[in-house]
């Protein structure tokens, strides 16, 4: 009878323990980072003449691409941008590309408040409290519970140099990685 009781205990206790751990996971999970391109997704330099020289899309220009980053409001994120060295027509015809990037983390899509990247990487809090009023989540927590979230905004721009290059459409891909720091 004593042996039988021991066997039953071995079968039941681990099951109870696993259920408790599942509950703990739900509590600890942070909100996922959500990245959304809220412009048209194409950094378009338009039609350019041969030998036009350096052509810029600046931070304040309407062609600048805007991306929102939504995540837990009090977390830092690290943004890394991988720009192409050049826009290409083909292997022999390239327009050198220089990336420009900035972020706004005061809760608003506002280029005037943006901080320019130094290089291709930046680490910043998703929401930077500047003391200018209630934070975006002050009117209520995230729907369905969980920690409150906020949005930061990323602006992508840059310049290209057009020399005596062949006519045609030059393209490139800009990859952006965002992770909690």
């Amino acid at each position: 009878m004593k042996k039988l009781f021991t066997v039953i205990s071995l079968l039941l206790l681990p099951i109870w323990a696993l259920q408790a751990q599942t509950l703990a996971l739900n509590i600890e999970a942070p909100p996922e980072l959500t990245i959304t391109v809220i412009s048209d997704g194409v950094l378009d330099f338009g039609s350019l003449l041969q030998n036009q020289g350096t052509v810029q899309i600046q931070l304040q220009d309407p062609q600048t691409e805007t991306i929102s980053i939504e995540g837990e409001h009090n977390r830092d994120v690290r943004v890394t941008i991988y720009p192409p060295p050049a826009l290409q027509l083909d292997a022999d015809n390239k327009l050198p590309f220089t990336l420009g990037a900035a972020y706004a983390n005061d809760g608003e899509d506002n280029k005037n408040q943006a901080t320019v990247f130094s290089g291709n990487t930046a680490t910043f809090p998703i929401y930077q409290d500047d003391g200018g009023g209630p934070p975006p989540w002050a009117k209520g927590g995230k729907k369905g519970g969980g920690p409150p979230t906020s949005k930061a905004y990323l602006y992508i721009y840059g310049d290209i140099t057009v020399g005596n290059d062949r006519a045609g459409t030059y393209t490139g891909t800009i990859n952006i990685s965002v992770e909690y720091d």
């Binding site: 696993l18 391109v37 378009d44 990685s177």
Partner: protein, 172 residues
């Protein structure tokens, strides 16, 4: 029984450790990636080439006006725009320009009339207004212009008059 309890505690600890490690990886590994594209359209510069200047016949004393018909006169000026094949272009020009006498004291007003064609054929060209947006370079990247017009010489002082003609062509 003592031995069995010890084994159970070891199992519980092992399960707990594994689960917490997984949670930590979710937090630190919470990353996302996205891509956008960059694009630029490079077009050839438009080059304007003057093929011949406007030619005025000597003015007779009784002549009141000189008229050069851009659709038929062989004295027209002729130009060609060279650029990207099949590209749409916008053409604009100032219709009236001043011709100045060599002495600099007298002038005449020349009123231009321009005909254009994507073929090198004056007779089938169309008269252009001062601002045209629906023109297209041909398959060789060419568009031709014939420049004529008229000027009143009734009270003109004898001598030579010079002036220029400016036409602006750009891609749309």
């Amino acid at each position: 029984m003592q031995k069995a309890t010890t084994i159970l505690l070891l199992i519980f600890t092992a399960v707990s450790f594994t689960t917490l490690t997984a949670a930590a990886q979710d937090q630190n590994g919470g990353s996302s990636r996205i891509s956008i594209s960059a694009s630029a359209q490079v077009v050839e510069s438009i080059e304007m080439v003057t093929l011949r200047d406007i030619s005025f016949s000597p003015v007779q004393p009784s002549q009141q006006t000189i008229t050069i018909d851009p659709l038929s006169d062989t004295n027209t000026g002729k130009m060609v725009a060279l650029g990207n094949a099949d590209s749409q272009i916008r053409v604009s020009f100032v219709r009236e320009r001043t011709l100045t006498h060599d002495s600099g004291t007298n002038s005449l007003t020349f009123t231009y009339e321009i005909a254009g064609n994507d073929e090198d054929d004056q007779s089938s060209a169309e008269i252009l207004q001062t601002d045209n947006r629906d023109l297209t370079l041909n398959g060789n990247g060419e568009y031709y212009f014939w420049i004529g017009g008229q000027v009143n010489v009734e009270n003109a002082k004898p001598g030579n008059y010079n002036g220029d003609f400016t036409i602006e062509v750009e891609y749309i």
